[in-house]
Symmetry: D2
Subunit: 319 residues, 4 copies
């Protein structure tokens, strides 16, 4: 029996440990593991190879994904999905583990509905913006990379009266920015899910500066598109020399943390068990209150992720 | 109203963020925050001072505890506890948050029973060996320090046919060693909670070496006292040049991870709320299935921590 | 006899180790060490305090400068320099070690010419753009922070066909960008000191992409002001999805590397010896071919820093 | 024309960047680059393959050496050297770059004297114990790994009255231990090159503890074999609870620092130029006062490395 793994959409730290555990556990379970390289594009192009222990030796500490990823427009065209299916049947694969986001899971849902295939999706995105799961692979590593950057900025901030704007990833979801602000002691945080009142903030910051505060750190989610605006605001309204740091894809790479490795291990193990035990399987594994569950892709796709209100309250208490 | 914080027993990363959040939230709640320096010894010696924002500025990224810690024999003597109580009443403190382990909590239980005092204990120990809670402050940081060390060893291990023994902390509890072995892909793990069969291991390792494996990494919990023995075993029985790394207190320091900072924030916030809301309070906050609860110190003290069996199964599947 | 240390202008990693060594060696030499806080502004405001061992305990691993820094317009006004001099004479200081750049050294040159003062300047700037010295404090730490960021980006770059632009510090000097490009294997580097030919680059990159290259990393010095332009160029001319990372002040903080600590130790030790041994001292310590020398501030101020041509040749050989 | 690279003896960080630069520069110079895998053992076994760009993509940030290394007894036997020579001639290699220590260079000297071969040796060992060069590849990375460990220990040391013994690598050479002690502010350092007087140290440490010092860090070079002895000394003579950290091979792995990458680049480039320009070449490249030179292997082999006396003086001034 053959089983394949594929990463799809934006990559994240934690994918490589997942790939390693996938190969090891497949082999121990008597399955033949395959890699689908370069996501859905590679699936269409037949870029599929059997995986061995050697392929996954020395990858557990690497960020990104050694099997590559992609976004695919062609996959929306049934003709290419037909090709993809032929590629899989040639090597006898009918079971696929997908590391990706909800877009990728929806594509797989259509694909596995058309053909006789099973899949389990493992939520993998540093944005942590998938409905139904409290954790997506890669988030802990991304948060710790941001932490290390803000810690470094604080060193220099404390030396010189100055303000800093740090832009984190997160288009519609401010999770990374919010948790970073709370755990790095930033003074200001702007995310899509939380209204802000710059007049109030100005008053508060000016009061703190009078009391002796030397610097201001403002964390902004990329999706706000306000980084340059906040630099000007801090210079003009607060009167401090201000510099921006745009972290960008630094947040996606980096050595996966222990938490991401452990989650990768559990996500993969339980996903393989699931796909083996069900006749029809178009599921996504989710993590909720320390438990793993399986939900239908439609459950995830039909709802929008909401940020944990406790985090917003925690931030508000501080500011 | 006054409230104090104290660290007691072995220190760990995460204590400084907890201390910072304690000061900030106490002040925002209208409380006067105090530091008890150097644990129970400092409590006896009256080393108690009011804390300000300035005291906790720039400490969130430091390992250890800026207020010091200690173990105290004197505190077992009622006369010294009487002195300790006088020191507290002088400055009007009747509420204490304690960062420590079960030994410290038991001492506080006696102390608060004798005098009119309230306390909440926050489990803080890298060993993660406190009954009733799934998480103790400092564990995530310790695990990531071990990870980074084993990653570094693997680089050199892969270059040269050689074996390595890595000793982690953990006297009666192998949690750190076991999770490290799983998430670092170590070949061998020896902890107090798990029987081992070196004959079987020998057979398995020799088979893998014949198949092309170049190196062996063995993680040993300190409490096994088997580090040197395993070096000899690997040299004599497996026939590989072997070197030991004893991580020691590296595991206790280091910049607290985001997870430890976030746990520190939540532990402290909920503990302050608790101590304010109860007439009598001799509680320990615990983390269980993503929820925070309060349990009586006797509940914790009367049971022995058991390692999560899922982790042992996860390890066994790999080996 | 009293001696003071001051940081002036932009801060950098390495200043704190220098401050620690300054205090320790002054005391061992029988001198009374002083801190001038917040640079020239603090000098005018009389923010000067005697320093003790305790002040410098636990600072060797902190980025930035614990005594603060500033830029000062007031210092150009003789009246304020007169005030500054009075502040120094009050506590008997006539010897000052200055951690800063050539602007700060010129200001000190004027100041020490007017009054009976001696100073030694220690080149301290991550830009490495001071004429006469091959090394400025903070450069090695900044380079290693950039390295770690580009390594992280490469992880994700290799997973997905994509291009990245990384902006490093450096206004008129491309040292950081150039060394980072060489040591991180970046494909493209744009600095003020080196002409570039985007047409030629385009041809070369397209050829490499055809041969199988998956990603392009472009390092740009801040002073080029070309980060956004290069993002568009890579998207439009090369046809790759492109993302920018602006490192900003991350480069100034961070735990000082061993090289920066060792240079701090030697810079400080030799500067103290120098200032004690000369009647008149308006010198800057420089590092040249593994040797330390002292040069007149005018020698430094009258020449413009030139980037090492060997580095440019090294880069060109690769591309 | 063909050229090969080989790592021999103990591995170190910096070897992988050197291997990457070797392949790139060989190809740009019109040479065919080869890897000799697993050092002299692989040379005897004919484990030799042509190298491509793909082989060295994504290795610049990995510790150790991707081509493996070994120590070889067989190579002392002429018969095996004859086999080794045949393996080389089969693929037309007569030029070899060797990453290793003086033992490996001596073996190459004999080998290249017997057969018509040329080699350049690049000093590569974290011990920094090769006569004639001020720098060996890998040293800067090793020093920064030790730094990070001692910084972590200091966090916890400052929290609790306690002493620590840290054992660094270095059999006959205390370079790593000495530089680490200076740049990490350790109180005590024991290396083979420096006499010590524990009675005097005891007096001094006890005085400092009375003045308020809370902890003691002692750095010991492995070759002293005194780690356990110093733990007992600190417990018995100084009266402090003491813990040991044995860093071991952590020091050999790890992401190569910028300095090691830049040295790798220059060592390799100049070595290739040298081997191409000379008829007979049995040289070692050395780094001296910021310049690269070539010396005969006999010059290196006939003298014993001496530690820089300036470093010893620097340490003594502090203690």
């Amino acid at each position: 029996m053959s089983i394949a793994i594929m990463s799809s959409g934006g990559d994240c730290a934690g994918m490589n440990p997942a790939i390693k555990y996938f190969v090891e556990r497949s082999i121990f379970s008597g399955l033949k593991p395959y890699f689908i390289y370069d996501g859905l594009e590679g699936l269409i192009d037949g870029n599929i190879k059997e995986a061995t222990f050697t392929d996954v030796s020395g990858i557990i500490h690497l960020g990104g994904t050694i099997i590559g990823s992609s976004r695919s427009k062609r996959f929306f065209d049934k003709q290419y999905r037909q090709t993809a299916f032929s590629n899989l049947t040639k090597v006898g694969i009918d079971k696929i583990i997908v590391l990706g986001g909800d877009g990728s899971f929806r594509a797989m849902d259509i694909f596995c509905g058309e053909f006789d295939l099973k899949f389990v999706g493992i939520p993998s995105t540093i944005d942590n913006d998938i409905y139904g799961t409290q954790y997506c692979l890669g988030v802990d590593t991304a948060l710790n990379i941001i932490r290390s950057s803000i810690d470094s900025i604080r060193d220099t901030a404390a030396s010189f009266k100055r303000a800093f704007v740090v832009e984190t990833m997160g288009k519609e979801c401010g999770y990374l920015a919010l948790v970073s602000a709370i755990t790095s002691g930033a003074e200001l945080c702007l995310i899509p899910e939380m209204p802000y009142d710059l007049k109030h903030q100005k008053k508060q910051i000016l009061t703190e500066l009078q009391k002796g505060r030397r610097y201001v750190i403002c964390v902004v989610a990329e999706g706000m598109d306000m980084t340059q605006q906040m630099v000007r605001w801090l210079e003009d309204e607060i009167g401090m020399e201000t510099r921006a740091t745009v972290l960008g894809h630094i947040q996606r790479g980096g050595n996966p943390t222990v938490f991401d490795r452990l989650m990768a291990s559990q996500f993969v193990e339980k996903s393989i068990d699931r796909i083996l035990s069900k006749e029809i399987c178009k599921d996504v594994i989710v993590y909720k209150d320390s438990e793993f569950e399986f939900v239908d892709i439609n459950y995830i796709a039909s709802n929008k992720y909401q940020i944990d209100d406790d985090l917003i309250q925690m931030y508000k208490k501080d500011y």
